[in-house]
């Protein structure tokens, strides 16, 4: 009797397990082909009309007197909704990584922002220590300064090469053990706001107008996905706040040094040039592709 009951319970548990596995299987639908890029698009949200996956493959960010070439790809992904007054609201990537962190090498390294000469003895000692331990490399990482909902996209401006195509609130993380983990240019309360355009900029002096480009379009999947190669988004009219948090407990000493090395970072002294390949897909088409491929 007991043996029979045990067998029934085991069979029931097995059946429940198999059902659970079956359900799990159907929940793990997947995107295939050209749709795989949109894996982190919140396409199940009815407000999301388009999915976007944009890779900045090259370009540069000029902050005051420092130029950082973009050598490692930077991915911006998520979704966006219907445009309101020309700009579509952005929805964060489902994995939370809307703007992927890609540390870019800063030419000149640590000594480029904290030169050894002219420093007080403490800074000199510290720099010497980091120099001796080969810790003088400096990275600059672009991060979102505000929630993804603060990103705005204008498909129209992107296409017609005029006006702001992408509004991106960012902060720049300067990374080196000497600078600590909180050395930033820009913050959530005082972000750097890039108003990127594929058209021509109108910056204050000394910068002069530069021109972006909408790139070359190709429709994929019978018009369900649009691929844009060579989209050049530019802004050289932005201003950057002072650096904060550099040097940990001696930030009061290091921040002014880094700031002085960056030079003037008010509007007209900075530039962002982002060369991208952009994939945009219909959220409905992405969702359908996901459902069709269990």
């Amino acid at each position: 009797m007991h043996k029979h009951r045990t067998r029934v319970v085991c069979t029931a548990l097995l059946a429940v397990s198999l059902t659970a596995l079956g359900l799990a299987g159907s929940a793990q639908a997947k995107l295939v082909g050209n749709y795989t890029k949109f894996a982190q698009c919140p396409f199940t949200n009815a407000e999301v009309k388009k999915c976007i996956y944009s890779t900045t493959e090259s370009g540069e960010v000029v902050l005051g007197s420092k130029t950082v070439p973009i050598e490692k790809p930077v991915v911006l992904q998520g979704g966006y909704g219907k445009a309101v007054e020309g700009f579509a609201p952005f929805f964060a990537a489902t994995n939370g990584i809307t703007l992927a962190k890609a540390p870019q090498n800063v030419p000149g390294g640590l000594l480029g922002v904290v030169p050894e000469s002219k420093q007080n003895w403490l800074i000199k000692k510290l720099i010497k220590f980091f120099f001796e331990n080969s810790l003088t490399g400096l990275n600059s990482t672009l991060e979102l300064a505000k929630p993804a909902t603060e990103i705005k996209i204008s498909e129209n401006n992107l296409a017609i090469e005029s006006g702001t195509a992408l509004k991106l609130p960012v902060k720049i993380h300067l990374e080196n053990p000497f600078l600590g983990s909180n050395c930033y240019v820009g913050s959530s309360t005082s972000p750097i706001t890039w108003n990127l355009t594929t058209g021509a900029t109108s910056p204050p002096a000394p910068n002069t107008s530069i021109k972006g480009a909408a790139g070359e379009l190709e429709f994929l999947e019978e018009g369900r996905i649009l691929e844009t190669k060579g989209a050049k988004l530019v802004d050289n009219a932005w201003s950057a706040p002072a650096v904060t948090g550099c040097g940990g407990i001696i930030a009061f000493l290091v921040n002014p040094i880094v700031s002085s090395q960056l030079g003037t970072t008010t509007a007209g002294h900075n530039t962002a040039i982002l060369k991208n390949t952009i994939f945009v897909g219909s959220a409905v088409a992405v969702k359908k592709n996901n459902e069709e491929n269990p």
């Binding site: 296409a159 379009l217 190709e218 018009g223 945009v280 219909s282 409905v284 088409a285």
Partner: protein, 206 residues
Amino acid sequence: MRTKATAIGAALAALAVLCALFATSASASPAWRFNGEELKTTEVILGGAYESSMTVPGLTTSCENFLYELTIENSGGTGKGKLTEVPLFNCYTNSKACIVESINAEALPWSTHLATFSSKPFIVIEGVKVGIYYEGEECVLGETLVTVTGSAGGVIDNTAQTATFNSTTLSESGTSLKALSQKIEWKGVFPTEAFQSHREQAISAS
């Protein structure tokens, strides 16, 4: 004496060459003709494209009915004209996802003139502006207005009495059409036929 005759001969030859050159440059601006006679008044040409489509790589939009009304005249020996109406109907794409919700010629009239390129008569249309509104929930251009702008040159076949527009004719005439900041391909074959006082007369551009 013989030298003088030779000099006069050479001068005449030079004059002949000059005349020929001027004749060539005159043909660079062809005029509208009916039954071989230069058009002295205005005339209205009506027609519809035998076929017409525009292509951005990966997406082609075609119209079954691409009609036009063109008023023509000759001014200073050159054929001119105005496209006053361009009704477009039954337009569709080669995509199951995208439908053409509406398509309209805008900023009419579009001015036209005749010109010669590669020794062939062309009609050049300037100020082209066509708005296309796509629909389809799976279409990446869904609820998007795409505007085609630019100028287009088409070769005139005086025998077939047609004007043909394609990438070759646009290139030969130095014209281009753009949509979404892209140079687009446009194909179209348009019959040319008068509908007023020169009805049923052979139309040509030369």
